[in-house]
Symmetry: C2
Subunit: 606 residues, 2 copies
Amino acid sequence: MRMRMKTLGAMRSHLRAQAQMMMMMKKKIEIFPNWRSDNRGLMAASEPRASGGDQDPNSANLIPPSARFLQKNNSLEEKGRLAGHKNLLSCDNSDRDARFRLTETDFSNLFARDLLPAKNGEEPTIQFLLEMVDILTTYVKKTFDRSTKVLDFHHPHQLLEGMEGFNLELSDQPESLEQILVDCRDTLKYGVRTGHPRFFNQLSSGLDIIGLAGEWLTSTANTNMFTYEIAPVFVLMEQLTLKKMREMIGWPNGEGDGIFSPGGAISNMYSVMIARYKYYPEVKTKGMSAAPRLVLFTSEHSHYSIKKAGAALGFGSENVILLSTDERGRVIPADLEAKIIDAKQKGYVPLFVNATAGSTVYGAFDPINEIADICEKYNLWLHVDGAWGGGLLMSRKHRHKLNGVERANSVTWNPHKMMGVPLQCSAILVREKGILAGCNSMCAGYLFQPDKQYDVNYDTGDKAIQCGRHVDIFKFWLMWKAKGTIGFEQHIDRCLDLSQYLYNKIKNREGYQMVFDGVPQHTNVCFWYIPPSLRDMPDGEERREKLHRVAPKIKAMMMESGTTMVGYQPQGKNVNFFRMVVSNLAATQSDIDFLIDEIERLGRDL
Amino acid sequence: MRMRMKTLGAMRSHLRAQAQMMMMMKKKIEIFPNWRSDNRGLMAASEPRASGGDQDPNSANLIPPSARFLQKNNSLEEKGRLAGHKNLLSCDNSDRDARFRLTETDFSNLFARDLLPAKNGEEPTIQFLLEMVDILTTYVKKTFDRSTKVLDFHHPHQLLEGMEGFNLELSDQPESLEQILVDCRDTLKYGVRTGHPRFFNQLSSGLDIIGLAGEWLTSTANTNMFTYEIAPVFVLMEQLTLKKMREMIGWPNGEGDGIFSPGGAISNMYSVMIARYKYYPEVKTKGMSAAPRLVLFTSEHSHYSIKKAGAALGFGSENVILLSTDERGRVIPADLEAKIIDAKQKGYVPLFVNATAGSTVYGAFDPINEIADICEKYNLWLHVDGAWGGGLLMSRKHRHKLNGVERANSVTWNPHKMMGVPLQCSAILVREKGILAGCNSMCAGYLFQPDKQYDVNYDTGDKAIQCGRHVDIFKFWLMWKAKGTIGFEQHIDRCLDLSQYLYNKIKNREGYQMVFDGVPQHTNVCFWYIPPSLRDMPDGEERREKLHRVAPKIKAMMMESGTTMVGYQPQGKNVNFFRMVVSNLAATQSDIDFLIDEIERLGRDL
């Protein structure tokens, strides 16, 4: 079916016509004087209707649906068009004249209530969705275009005051679909392009087209992972994908347990819960008072979610003991053993050790094998937080950095970080089969009926701390299909090569100082930019204070100019430094060069 | 830009041509003999490239990107096309001949690596996304078409064995985009249409078009709620929407705290955590041993997530005390008070009471005001679990069922249930401002830097138990904009009217028995269908056992015929009964009639 859809730019001209339309609407009300008290008379009562029954769902409309539709499509051709259900995306040559009258859709006079399931809602629905897709595909194209800014920064108060008609406030009355489309465009305009080749701000970046398409499908399917009954395909995809991931970890035959959770922090929380259940199952029913005073161990460089889990689950954040690291941010195994012994002497019971595979700031990989030796010696649960570094298991070149991961009892691995899968996509993988259900099941009869006609072992809901669970698997499964394991491997190798390029470029460059020496283990490159004014200043408190303010200033200017984004933070005794990370396949050496030029341009006069 | 895109059906014919294409590819390799050892020579080294730098990200391809592209688009017209960046969705009349050569896209020879950020990836990217949109819009149309089945049921082993070329297994090598599109179609084919007008199986149903469009935009923006820095618009939308929700609860000026979480179970978990923090803040650092033996109270009909939270957070599921209910499933306040007194006498310390607003099975609303009186008397935290019933606050007609909710300390409210917002969308709302951050903050310096250029009070990450957090707000905000509060009100009133229609239809109908008497409080209608063979059987164990098997049998037949879906479960002493719920705006009286006809058709001979 051929059609012409006007752009949003052109649509704005219709706003002017809106007052005129309101006049017409009033006339229509006069034509259908009875619609409000009884609109049944306007519809055939016996046929099944998309919207109807005894009551029109849009009964607060000023115009009944049929009238609204006639008002917009008041030619015979328009009516004929509605009868056809052709592929709207294909614009072929045949039947040209008949279909070319489809011309423009006037969204200024259409509302949500005119879309499906409204009577005659199919055509406006499809046209609305296609208009949205036009906005989105334009956004996608621009995201990869380096002449586009990464962001168009505004302060909260500016956005709250309303930007050129972009009003965030919600009201009682509906807005026209035209306004909705304008709002969507504005939402993207004032957002941040996390897929831009020069967005280096987070561990998750990039915009994978297959993943994006997968996510669009996921939203369209709009189902829930808790039972096979309503998510048969997704549940199986999750099962198969988790098995593949366990194979890559190195557990025999990929056996074990696992689930996708809403992010690495929750995955890490699962690991602590399971460890507690394994050693002290009575805590599930009796509470923490049934266990001795348990302590958890994790690196001072590890993600804060281990501490959060300790606080949430009733261990207490002070009972999460932080381990010292070497200058590269890797746990010192001897320190772990010393702290285990110390805790035991104080009457605490060590339970759990987290080894980080790819720390957030330094990208450090803790020595898993040495930590595993200690865990075996003291009979402790070993968790590997590979939220950031787990992806390296896909790379034959880099997977050695996780050597020993097969000895872990549980592993967190976020495909939404290093592997470019859209947010959210995080897995908790467990070596012991069945333990997730043991830990979390409450056997809710209304959801997990044992007398279903299929094998209810496929229902996943009782393994989770969630009830409803978003379908996070499909986009990842689809990307794996589309790229193959080899495609993820290339992605990872390429990102690591690129960060090595950055490292090589700045390690001896004037005005730069590396936070730690040596080639980064992950894509994290941590460095200070020293403005000329500080280069000759002797080390000391004054210089430290000044240097501490450099990265925030440069970052603020970057954001205001919108050219690129990179993170900074202090760490321990180190004042604010830049943490560069690469996980976006769109980034190239030229983007790295650009970043360095930009830092020097903005920081030169500080 | 005008174009013709073939359907997937037509695409299959291209598979036959693939062997021939491989022959052509080999020839191209000969034309570019050096690509593998050094493909820099094929590209201009100085210009910024979408894919490139020192290394082609697709280096494992058999063909360099440029060659692959030439091979597919080997006419001058094709090259000209690639230079233009026109609106792909608009098929206007001008420039017709030039653009009409766009004809078909052969996805059988395109791979993920050919899409953006690949050089010349823009055109295949857009065409791939549009082909996906064609699949999705076709799915959307069919979902609302009653001649489409709700599902095409297969057992797990059938899907795992592979259905007509739908292979769930993942492999090392990539699949063509044609196969990816076929997989997407199959994924939808073997799934369940939760938006179908005859899908009554879960509390979440329906397919809201605005919500869907919002979710497509969310995936395209692919960002994270943890900081204003990378989600400025979404963070503000969340803030404003939470304020509106608090206003509807009735808290003065909508003041308070809140956050969107990955589902009602997590929202309920938040409520328990906050209550503990309010009364025993030292548990955050010291663990549960710093508090006395705390107990929580919730109805025997309440959602199992309260018990799960009790188990996870270290209280122990046995310390979640279940309250008795009346025959309608509503908590008996006197039982609450008696159990509080009993617990205190046994040396436990009551902490928290959950009142359910809309229970999962019966749709019961606990008497909040009476419960609030008791909570005030004993100084307990009052949480209202309105995951299912919270939506009724939008209805002037039905909001009285939550009278007293303004006295709660916290409220769970899932717009993804009664309000038709796509999954996941759940809010935890808290009366006391700042308590979420107090409870959960760990002040991770690398993420929540205090020295940013904007007001960092807008960063939300430290309030959450998650680190990364999916953008759940946008679809909801957009629906609210598009429908207005009044649109949600109509949605809710209509669904409740429809369940009353069902109730009136079956309450005195032969072969039906209601599980409880009286008009349902929510859209839940609970009933037994009694097959003719059981109607004259005297009540007793044999009849109970037989009746227990009726609903599962009918449900299994329903799923196998794919005509409709409705839930069943036992509850307490009651054997399996059907629980009908309506939350889908697409459902009409005719669908209710259909469901009853279907139950009778399938159950007649049991």
